[in-house]
Amino acid sequence: MRKYLTYLYLFAFITVAYILLPVMNADYLYTIQDNNVFINGRTFMMDTVQHAGGWGTWLACYLTQFFYYPWLGSTILILFWVAIYWITIWMFDISNKWSFLALIIPLLLLYHLLDYGYWIYYAKAPAFPFVPTIIVIFCLLVTWLFVWMTRRLKINWWLKKGLFLGFILLSLYIYNWLCPSTPWHFNYNFRHSILTTLTDKNFKHELKMYRALDEFRFEDALKEMPTNQEAAPTNLMVLYKNIALMHTGQMDKMFETGNCGVKPVLSDSLHLRTSQLGAPLIYYLFGQINYSYRWAMENSVQYGLGFRDLKMMTRTALFNQEFEVAAKYIAMLKNSTFHRKWALEHEAWMLNSTNFYQSLEYQTLAPLLNDGANALDGDDGLCEQFLLEYFSDLDHANSPLLEDVTLCMSLWAKDYYAYCIHFYDYVNKYPNRPISLLYQEGAILLGNAEESPITLENFRFDDIVANKYNSFVQDYTQLQQQGVDETEMGKRLKPLYGNTYWWYYYFYNDFNIY
């Protein structure tokens, strides 16, 4: 049995690695790939190799793209780790019994890859899944060559020392060649994020929802929103969910489907911002083309260019009819290994405007595009807050979808004044149309408030809404009179009114935008 221990340890490691990588974290790996870029050709290569860690980075970028298929990328990475295991055993003459020690480096590399969590959006070092592995392999190969030579060649002590010195000099030369301009500084910090990667369900939901929205699979994005109340969703999930509702014509269901987001609690000092996590896509799906482009550009400058940035810049350039710059991005994507098909599809949009105007993306976003004149503004990096304020304040919604968005966003922002104005315009514009229950819930609460800028004397609420509101007021007053505090009151009223706007208005106060 003992003679098979080497294989047994290896088999166990491979099994664990596969479970932790493509089985449990396929979306994580796909996202890492999406935030990375590799373009076949000389220009990308020359641009990469002239920077710190050039050739190693270039190779790592090449390999990272294979996480487009998480199983494929994982297999390549695991093969590298298996090689490290065998070389280590061979080099140090490790016996079967102690061969598990040779797994220390592969395990650390596995830990390193999983320790990113939300850092996958913030890592400045490109292609981080493969860079440390390539460094380790490079060092091992140099050492292996040295050991091999000293074992095979019968050389004396002095020659051995000279050879050792020669290897050090050779390594320094190769290192210099790898890093032609600047030192490859290697200041790895433990991020303490492995628990986020492995156990944070919201993090996993966010990854899946992003991809679904990116591919305009809005129903799939909605399925990722947990229906049970075991853990509050993150703000980002709420944003993604509401985008999916908006584009499936159900935005008025936003308070029935969990609208009380929280900021993820992290075990490290990472300062999370939705601008880095998904702003380009979020802005795009709200029809804010310039802002989408801006954040794709900003993130690529700050944290490195990724395929998702390139794609978003392509889409926004097409929507802005900036065809020359779109052609540039498409040319790059056409020279990628796995995003060529996407590029060809979007090239067809560019070459024939009919294709573009008939595309699902244009058809979906068109109603959001003509929201009036240009404005010079800024979001201070707070994408969610900008959208809430922008659409709440929008006074010239000129499509039914935009009208819904202005109503829902002003409710979401608890901007009673803006909501009342939008509601007043809405009921006057569509006097014979049944008003959705949400809009009635908003109006009955905000329109009848003392500060309301409108009067609702002639407006007749549905009985179901009016009766439920009366009972909410009654229950609320009763609990208030009993001296129950706000938090407890929220808990007690949630089963009955948790899916109403009133509950959100009174009891969701943790509006922690990030």
Binding site: I39, G41, R42, T43, F44, D47, Q50, H51, A52, W119, Y122, A123, K124, S181, T182, P183, H185, N187, N189, Q288, N290, Y291, Y293, R294, M297, E298, N299, S300, V301, Q302, Y303, G304, L305, N320, E322, E324, V325, A327, K328, A331, M332, N335, A373, N374, A375, L376, D377, G378, D379, Y390
Partner: protein, 503 residues
């Protein structure tokens, strides 16, 4: 002879034949009455006598091309697929032979089974050479973010590109900074500077070959030095100091406005490490200082802007009134010995009702006769203004003219002169509207600018796949000698604070 040897010889012979395959001009050619579509557009351009090969790609469908380059000493043929890649040695031979004359270019493209010929065009080879180097900041056209950027130097006589400094060399997930405003004294690199902001902030200053890191912010000044200009004869640098902000258009394709809510001018005495005020007028936004070649005049831009809404912050009011900010061109006399400024003069009243424009980035020609600047409808950051164009003032007659030859319908900004005054370089977004590229134009003795050409690259497809702008392209007559590692090591040191000297 064994069969194996025969096969080996046959293989080698085949390979040699393939390598030795030479191009010939097609005989049965269908002539077109137009110039070929080539990228970059190098048709009928005037080029320096020492420029690198003008490689280009022919954009006539999926074609195979042959280009015949005829020069006074003979001709050469080139063609690799759609690309025309010129051998460097042969190119040098052509330039040497055609100095003051032309190199004729005839392009033939095989489309389907038919060879088509196009009207020939010329490279006019000037007698004048160009400075051997340029440097530029390689940066994506970002808005607020920074990090992945470097200052590079490019040898114009070949295709060699080296990094002067790579910002990522001292960046990590916790520390980051921006680098900007590289500048040289008299086109030489023993006296040069660039700034770092945030993280390891400070001005990296090289004086007489020695590298220092200086903090130019004092309690009495608005900010550290921003836009610099080295005095040509003394160890002095004029800077603007700026409080800058950015705001973003929701629809406008200009996308961003970069605005100064306040700005002044300062003088930095390198030897004394002292900062003094040149101009800090209320209601004036002074910026972009630049010395005349004799060092006795400082040109600068200034916009008169009065804030009148006390209920909001200056930055908010500036955003509301962004298109009211218009800069005119001024000069102030300077005595280098006493370091005294006097006699401020309005040189070009661009903001006047009759012109109603905004001038930025003035640069005086080395002979002191002309002044180039960028002009657009408003504001100070014309790289983001599609209507920005390059204008020239004749400093003797004060006549201003738009340099039609070098402008396009997209942004042109950041003009600069070669050290001999025969070449001008501008940053242009004409290629795709978004990424700035350096365009070089011949400027003849009569003060006429010729059609510019985009900086040649070894692979003519380079610009398609290069996602960085060439920001602040500056001529240099020699390469930077301080290594990137030396800059990186100095960057991590604390900056030496400059002293303030009251005037």
């Amino acid at each position: 002879m064994k069969l194996r040897n025969i096969l080996l010889i046959a293989t080698i012979a085949t390979l040699l034949a393939a390598c030795g395959e030479h191009l010939t001009v097609p005989t049965n050619v269908q002539m077109e009455s137009r110039l070929p579509k080539i990228y970059p557009d190098y048709t009928e351009v005037t080029i320096p006598a020492n420029i690198c090969p003008m490689n280009f790609i022919v954009q006539e469908g999926e074609s195979e091309v042959i280009a015949r380059l005829t020069y006074p000493g003979g001709e050469y043929l080139y063609g690799e697929g759609q690309k025309v890649l010129i051998d460097e040695t042969q190119w040098q031979e052509m330039l040497d032979s055609a100095k003051g004359q032309t190199i004729k270019v005839e392009v033939f493209a095989k489309i389907g089974d038919t060879w088509k010929g196009y009207q020939p065009f010329n490279f006019y080879v000037a007698e004048d050479s160009i400075d051997e180097y340029i440097s530029y900041r390689a940066i994506q056209p970002s808005y607020v973010a920074y990090e992945r950027l470097s200052i590079n130097q490019r040898n114009l006589t070949n295709f060699d590109v080296r990094e002067i400094y790579n910002n990522m060399s001292v960046s990590n997930e916790k520390v980051g900074q921006c680098i900007n405003c590289h500048s040289y004294k008299n086109y030489k690199t023993d006296n040069m500077l660039f700034h770092m902001r945030q993280g390891y902030g400070g001005t990296m200053l090289v004086t007489n070959g020695q590298l220092k890191k200086i903090d130019l912010k004092t309690d009495e000044t608005l900010s550290a030095g921003v836009y610099p200009s080295w005095h040509p004869t003394h160890n002095l640098i004029a800077f603007s100091t700026n409080k800058t902000g950015q705001s973003f258009h929701t629809k406008d394709l200009n996308k961003i406005e970069v605005q100064d809510t306040e700005s002044d001018l300062i003088l930095y005495d390198v030897d004394k490490n002292e900062v003094s005020i040149i101009s800090e007028l209320d209601d004036e936004l002074e910026v972009f200082p630049t010395w005349s070649p004799d060092g006795k005049k400082l040109y600068f831009c200034s916009a008169h802007f009065e804030y009148y809404n006390d209920s909001i912050e200056k930055s908010a009011e500036m955003i509301q009134r962004y298109d009211e900010v218009k800069y005119s061109l001024y000069s102030v006399d300077f005595n280098p010995d006493t370091k005294e400024f006097s006699n401020v003069e309005m040189v070009y009243d661009a903001a006047s009702d009759s012109i109603n424009q905004s001038v930025t980035l003035p640069r005086v020609s080395p002979d002191g006769r002309y002044l180039l600047f960028a002009q657009a409808a408003f504001g100070c950051f014309h790289v983001w203004h599609a209507d920005a164009d390059i204008y020239m003032m004749n400093l003797q007659t004060k006549e201003v003219q738009k340099l039609d030859a070098v402008n396009s319908d997209r942004s042109e900004s950041y003009p600069s002169w070669s050290s001999n005054g025969r070449w001008i370089m501008v940053d242009s977004r004409r290629d795709d509207g978004n990424y700035t590229r350096p365009y070089i134009a011949y400027f003849d003795k009569n003060g006429k600018a010729h059609k510019p050409f985009m900086l040649p690259q070894q692979d003519p497809n380079f610009y398609t796949f290069y996602l960085r702008s060439f920001n602040r392209p500056e001529f240099m007559i020699e390469p930077v000698k301080i290594t990137p590692r030396e800059f990186a090591a100095k960057a991590k040191e604390d900056a030496v604070p400059a002293k303030y000297a009251a005037q």
